[in-house]
């Protein structure tokens, strides 16, 4: 069984009298250690796709199996457990806790797994080492550069050893030099066996991926493999 199986996923929003079909019959399978990107213009449904993939939202209909678990009928708390166990989020605007140091930000998801302080700390330090931030663990987010903040966010996503890393425009707020660094980090994570799913509208970013799914009007418009160019 694939890591992710989506069967006929739809997501409708009611806007006044007419229904918006944000997702309209999506069928996608994603295997372990895939390195893929969802691309598309704004309004194509890729953000909704990301919310449903990341179990932040539930589809209106259709089946979604994540790591052999049917997410369909889970309540908010069960979805929170899934997010904690299976998914590592990386956001465009980093979304770090502003009053917590890099170390505490990375330790945060482990609290929800009832991991003890000393173990949390050693796991978080290990994750920060993987993103080359071992020397800045006690800095607050506003003392770090954009690239460093995004690497803290990646460490926070990695520390729980999730099944998938889900990145939403991960380089949208970064300059070109930092973008290259972050993408190299993603390439490295893929080589280490991590499953990566990116959502982006930049073709530069998508070119790193081995599979590109283009979305249009809530449907899969194009789904093709490409040989790595990076």
């Amino acid at each position: 069984m694939s890591l992710i199986q989506m069967r006929d996923i739809t997501k409708y929003y009611q806007m006044g009298d007419h229904t918006v079909r944000a997702l309209d019959g999506i069928n996608v399978h994603i295997e372990k250690n895939e390195y893929m990107a969802f691309i598309g213009s704004s309004g194509s449904g890729k953000s909704t796709m990301l919310n449903i993939l990341g179990c932040l939202d539930r589809p209106s209909s259709g089946q979604y199996f994540l790591n052999e678990q049917n997410v369909e009928n889970m309540d908010a708390n069960q979805l929170a457990v899934i997010r904690n166990q299976e998914i590592g989020f990386i956001f465009q605007s980093f979304n770090l806790l502003p009053r917590a140091t890099a170390l505490h930000n990375v330790m945060q998801p482990l609290i929800y797994r009832n991991v003890r302080w000393s173990e949390r700390k050693s796991l978080a330090l290990e994750a920060l080492r993987r993103v080359n931030l071992a020397d800045r663990v006690h800095h607050l987010p506003n003392q770090l550069s954009g690239g460093q903040r995004q690497r803290v966010a990646i460490a926070r996503a990695l520390v729980t050893e999730p099944s998938i890393l889900l990145a939403d425009e991960p380089t949208g707020n970064l300059d070109s030099q930092t973008t290259v660094e972050i993408m190299e980090l993603f390439d490295q994570l893929h080589k280490d066996g991590q499953t990566l799913i990116l959502v982006t509208h930049e073709s530069e970013i998508a070119r790193h991926c081995h599979r590109i799914v283009e979305m249009k009007d809530g449907k899969v418009y194009r789904d093709e493999l490409q040989s790595a160019t990076a």
């Binding site: 919310n51 990341g54 932040l56 939202d57 908010a76 708390n77 929170a80 457990v81 997010r83 904690n84 166990q85 989020f89 956001f91 979304n95 770090l96 806790l97 502003p98 009053r99 945060q108 998801p109 609290i111 929800y112 797994r113 009832n114 926070r156 729980t160």
Partner: protein, 408 residues
Amino acid sequence: MLFVIFESTRSALSSILAHGFRSFLTTLGIVIGVASVIAVVSLTQGLRASVGEQFSALGSNSLTIASYTPIQDQMQGRRARLTADDLELIERRVDGIASITPILYATRSSQIRYGSQTSFSQIMGTTYAYRDVGQYYVHSGRFLANSDNDTRRRVAVIGEAVRDNLNLPEDPLNEYMELGGEWFRIVGLLESKGDIMGFNQDDIVLVPFATMQSIQGNQAQTDIQIQLRVSDEASVEEVSRQVTSILRNARGIGLNDRADFQIQTPEQLMETVDTVIGMVTVVLGGIVSISLLVGGIGIMNIMLVSVTERTREIGICKAIGARRHHILLQFLIEAVVLSLLGGMIGVAFGYGMGALIAFSIPGFPPANVPLWAIALALGFSGFVGILFGILPAGKAANLDPIDALRYE
């Protein structure tokens, strides 16, 4: 669950510290409420402890029987009386009496004179047994003796304050003082007992009961008091009950009629003091619950602001796996910790204030904060935290993660 509470407390503390001044202002309502209650409780409890000590020094196992005339009867010229017959009756029929004595207070004049010095004092006609009942012991000379009573000797035992007021010599024995136109020889000086509730126990002149009766004249009319000390094996309540039933019987008082005598025990006085303190405490409790209510609303207000401010943080935590109870507990514990901190500062502050007031008023007993008051103050402020924290915490826990993440 314990792990979650522990982690939530840690995060609540760091969040409170991050907004130190705001947290302090938030909890100020609680601080003031708790401080005022602790200050007043510490003063009243200090007062109560010192009154209690004085009463136990007085002898908590003695009781006084006196006649009682309602005002209406007094206006009609009727007066209830206790007589020597009643004394005899009680002495003969009541069990558990260690010693018993009649007391006759001077009614005509309580003026005393020595040389050219005059003064007023409490003059009591009593017997040898008063030494045991009233716990008065002589410093020098002797106490009243039975033979003084039998032969109606004109002798007196005086307190230290009387000696001082009349400018009597250091050793006043065998001096003569004038008392209601009669001359009495001083045979004993009492040990000093100090003040009790503003009444100087050393300002006292004791003369033989029969002597007092004879100089008052009109023996059939005299209204005496009876004081007795209950023996160690008997209980004050039991003796008091026996005395009541015997006296009611002897006087033919009907079941539903008011007795024309009353029995006073030191416990009753203590109870009166307790009632007053209890009333003060209740009134104060009302005021304090209002101020705690106001403090709690202040906490709720700031917590609601804080939830809105941290909407995005809540979204982040939910995205990385926080469940409903994680968020709920974090904000609830923050509210409880805030109000508990307020309570603790309030207890310390209130005790300081109480101690300062007690110290600056001369003769006021030291402030005393009983543990129950501290426990109650902290318990109540914790409860206020839960009560007013649950709404903001619930609001935070029910946020939708997508909306919360999008919040700017």
